[in-house]
Symmetry: C2
């Protein structure tokens, strides 16, 4: 393996959807739009803007239309939205979404818990969305939850993951996201799964979506990069969380990911300073601390000033050397 080498890596931010949807206080539409507009200028490949779901189910994103219509589109950025069904797809298309992201879980128990239906029912519903949206030319991505394990069922076999992936590839989706929804993936598993996926579907756009619930988030990114993956979801400030792990961190943090990739010689196309500035707006906006580290510690290249008392210490040390 040889890291870096200026290889292009695509970073996709999900904070304003995946992060904001669990915030207890409603974030003003204008604040969402302001943040997305700044994020758009950082050079991110994709921004998951909102979710066209029922406002009753996710009140935090009840302003989906207003946000989509309010933001300024920057050429080159893909504005994706989550849609659960055909009704959501209609709303998203009216708002000129560049991509529809559809979601189901690979664990029957998790799908029942989260989406209140069986996997086959989810699949039928999503197949309908695909058939409905395909002719419009909009891009279609499917996010497969619990691809690396289910917090209730445990192991999700790779055959299961690839079986569902296969059915979606057959329906003509453009991209597939393997989601480590509750932070269960580990580097060996990631390496194995990504290698197998890339071999089987070399022309399907593969995204990895990691959570840092057990501290393995960026280690899994390294493992995925080695398997040739070049596209990652991440969340500004590390927003996101997980209902199964209270107190644990959420999605991998976009600033931390971008910072590591830039240092390691990858080309992310992202203005890291502007990105960090975006992340530093979150605590005031949300009224709480966020888990991201680089926002707190600064970049490796942000050097600290030499303490004022150092010249005196140095003079004393020099004097001792002279005496010796």
């Amino acid at each position: 393996m040889q890291h870096g080498n200026n290889q292009r890596v695509y970073i996709q931010d999900v904070a304003v959807r995946d992060g904001f949807q669990i915030e207890p206080e409603f974030i003003a539409t204008s604040e969402k739009i302001g943040l997305i507009d700044t994020l758009s200028r950082t050079g991110l490949a994709k921004i998951e803007v909102t979710s066209f779901t029922s406002p009753k189910a996710i009140p935090a994103l009840a302003d989906a239309e207003a946000v989509m219509q309010g933001i300024e589109r920057v050429p080159g950025v893909i504005y994706t939205v989550l849609v659960p069904n055909v009704r959501g797809a209609e709303r998203a298309l009216i708002c000129r979404a560049d991509e529809l992201n559809i979601v189901m879980s690979l664990s029957e128990t998790h799908n029942l818990t989260n989406l209140r239906m069986k996997r086959e029912q989810s699949f039928s519903q999503l197949a309908e969305v695909i058939r409905f949206a395909r002719p419009t030319g909009v891009a279609l991505n499917v996010s497969l939850s619990c691809a690396f394990g289910c917090p209730m069922e445990g192991v999700v076999e790779q055959d299961e993951v690839f079986g569902w992936a296969h059915r979606f590839v057959d329906l003509g989706v453009d991209g597939i996201t393997l989601c480590d929804t509750t932070g269960m993936a580990h580097p060996t598993q990631v390496q194995f799964m990504c290698n197998a996926f890339k071999q089987r579907w070399p022309s399907t756009e593969l995204t990895l979506h990691f959570h840092n619930t057990r501290g393995m988030g960026l280690a899994n990114v390294i493992a995925a990069l080695e398997a040739g993956v070049d596209r990652f979801d991440a969340s500004l400030g590390g927003l996101g969380g997980c209902p199964y792990a209270p107190g644990a961190t959420g999605n991998i943090c976009t600033e931390d990911l971008t910072h590591m990739l830039a240092l390691s010689g990858y080309d992310t196309n992202v203005d890291l300073d502007l990105l960090i500035a975006c992340g530093r707006r979150l605590p005031a906006m949300l009224g709480h601390d966020v888990p991201g580290q680089v926002g707190k510690a600064g970049k490796v290249s942000d050097l600290h000033s030499i303490p004022q008392w150092l010249p005196e210490i140095k003079a004393r040390a020099d004097a001792k050397v002279a005496l010796a």
Copy 2:
């Protein structure tokens, strides 16, 4: 690269020295001993017990002798202690330390700031320790701070790192620890440095000491493993911190490291459940939260129970399928 494969990895805990030394409240000697005695039974390869420095300089570790004499030695565990000078080495030898760990920084500015002397002065003092202790047969390890960068000077060239390492190898140390003191290392750098070190000094025991200041701690472990490194410092609960990055996390967390390695197929020899139980004692002992993630989220294999309302949801879903 092929991860895991039951390869042995040695885990060395530094929490009771590196972590405890910056705790504002003095931790009772009996509590320290109790924690170390449990840690000893987890199967860790090495425990850094305390520091034989001046009690005025580090009051938190003023009970170094009492701790060393109070702990129960478990065969197979190496009990190492930090010593700054010959006086410290004498005290450590009286307490039958298995290993003396000596420290200097590879950055002149950081060494002056931290140890109040020039690097050459530190080197002379440590060379004296080595000459004094060598005949006793005690193991000797040198920890080189800022091996991956200095928070004030920035880049520390690899020639600089290897130049100092060379001088210590010549003096006959058994092991060298490359310390990423303030969390500046990134995976490409780690891979490059570790490969070069292993090639140059294949028989010197190499330890990597990472901090998670910018979220890259476990990613750097993956990079180091790939370069053939099999020995890591880590800190229970992720204790440690860094004065240059307020609010940032400290050393990589022993539970998080062990959990990742075990999942990824490495042989750590560590009883992960007992280790996690140790880490969960810290918040009560210290009066504050700790940064480690696995202690909060549990292991990947700690499954969550299925919600009580799930059978009803499932019955409704089944009914819908039957109707369709």
